[in-house]
Symmetry: D2
Subunit: 135 residues, 4 copies
C-alpha cells in the first residue's frame, strides 16, 4: 500500500494454526501488534530511556478471510487520529494476496510510574507524521 | 455474574506476559476465545459430527485494566443477539477482582465444505437460550 | 504424585492445539515452565527484590502421549539435583489420566546485572528442600 | 551454515518475549519446529494426501544465549540419523550473530488412523538425503 501506510512483513509459524486448520484469531491480534510495534520502532517511540510506555486501549478486528500456513503476512499500518490522550491506528492484514483483516487499534502512552495516560503534544504528531493519514 | 452469563475460569501462565510485565493483549483475545469455546462446549455446539464450523467475524475489545501473573481469569460470556447469519456475544474478562476487559465477539457458523455462512434457525436460538440476554 | 513432588494444574486453551488436532509441542514447554514457576512461587524464589533471575539452561522432553482440548494438565515437579551453579528439576506432565510427557529442566540463577550464573549456596538447598528428591 | 544444513529465517514478535525482557524458552521450541516444518515442506513430507503424520518423540534444547526482540532467527536443521522408526534432526538456532540454542529433535511418522509409528523405509532416506549429515 502507498504512503503513508507503514508496511512490515512477518512469517507464519506452524503453531499459529489451530485445529480448524487456519491461523487462530489471536494471531491476528499478534499481527496487529507486530504492525504497531514495527511502526513505533521506525518512529523512534520504543527507546529504553522513555518515561512512558505504550498501551492498547481498544482493538477492533474485522476478520475478512482465513490465513493459512505456510505463508507471509503483510501488515500495513497508518495513524488515523491523534487525540489529546489517544492514538488511532488503522491496519490492514494481508496474506496470500488478499485482505484477511481490517483492524483499528487505539493506543495511549502511560507514565511508567503512575500508569496514567500522558497528554500527546506536538512531538507525538511530529514523530508519527510520515505515517499519518490526511485528515 | 448472574444468569444468563456463562462463567469459566482460566489460569494465567508466566509466558502470557510480555516485556511490559503484564499479560499481552493477544492473550485477552485468547481469553475471549476460551470463554466462547467453553460456552459452546456447554451448549453442545462443538461435536465432531457437525457439518459446520464456528468462525469469528468481528472482535472488539476494550482494555480496562492490566492483568498480571500469577492469577486466574474469569470470563463471563452471554449471547446478546442471534441474527440470520451471526451470533453476538458480550464478554467480561476479570482478574484480581476487577474488570480487565469488555469484549464483543461476532461469530458465524460456516459450512465446512463451502466455507460459507449458514443460516441460523430456531435450533441455534434454543441451544443458546440459557445464556442469552433478554432482548 | 506423593511428596516431594510439587503439583500444579493448568487448563488447556483451544489455541494450544495445532492443525494436527492435539496440543502443540511448544505448549509442553510452556506447561513445564508453568510447573517450574509455580514451584518457585511456592518456594519464595520469585520476589521483586531479588538480584538474580532464573534462566533455563537445558530442557529435555520425552513426549509420551498426545494431549487434547478440552482438558486440564497436571504438572508434577521435583528437584533432583542442586549443583554449584545449576538446579535440575524432573517433571511429569499428565492429562486425561495418563503421562503425556516426562521432562528434565536444568536451571541457573543469574545476576540481573552481569547476566552470569551465581553460586548456589545452602540457602538454595533450604528453599527447595520440601520438593527435593532423596539423593 | 553449509550444506547439508537446511536454513530458514523467522522474525521475532514482540510477544515472543516474556517479563524477563528476552524471548521465552517455549519460543525456542517453536523455532525448532519452524526449522523442522520448513525442512519437511522442502522435502515434500507435508502433503494433504499422506496417510501419516509427523510427531515429535523427544526434544533436547541447550540454551546458549538470550534472544531479544526485535530481530530475526536463523534456524539450521540437518538429519543426523534415520532409524527404523525415528528421525533425528540436529538444529542450531541463531540470532544477533550468535548461537542461541542447539537442539536435537527426534521425530516419528505415525499412521493417521492407528496413531502408531510406521517403519521408515528407503523412500524416507531418499526424501531427506539432501539434508542428511554424513554418517
Amino acid at each position: 500500500m502507498a504512503e503513508p501506510w507503514f508496511e512490515t512483513t512477518h512469517k507464519l509459524r506452524y503453531n499459529d494454526c489451530d485445529p480448524a486448520g487456519h491461523v487462530n484469531n489471536a494471531v491476528y491480534s499478534t499481527m496487529a501488534e507486530a504492525g504497531r510495534t514495527d511502526l513505533m520502532l521506525a518512529a523512534g517511540i520504543y527507546r529504553p530511556d522513555t518515561a512512558y510506555a505504550m498501551v492498547i486501549v481498544r482493538l477492533e478486528i474485522d476478520f475478512k478471510a482465513e490465513m493459512t500456513w505456510p505463508g507471509d503476512v503483510l501488515i500495513a499500518t497508518a495513524v488515523s487520529r491523534i487525540g489529546t490522550k489517544s492514538i488511532h491506528m488503522r491496519q490492514v492484514i494481508r496474506s496470500n494476496g488478499k485482505d484477511c483483516a481490517h483492524a483499528l487499534s487505539i493506543l495511549a502512552a502511560i507514565d511508567k510510574e503512575t500508569r496514567r495516560a500522558i497528554p500527546l503534544d506536538g512531538d507525538w504528531h511530529a514523530r508519527f507524521a510520515p505515517w499519518t493519514l490526511p485528515a
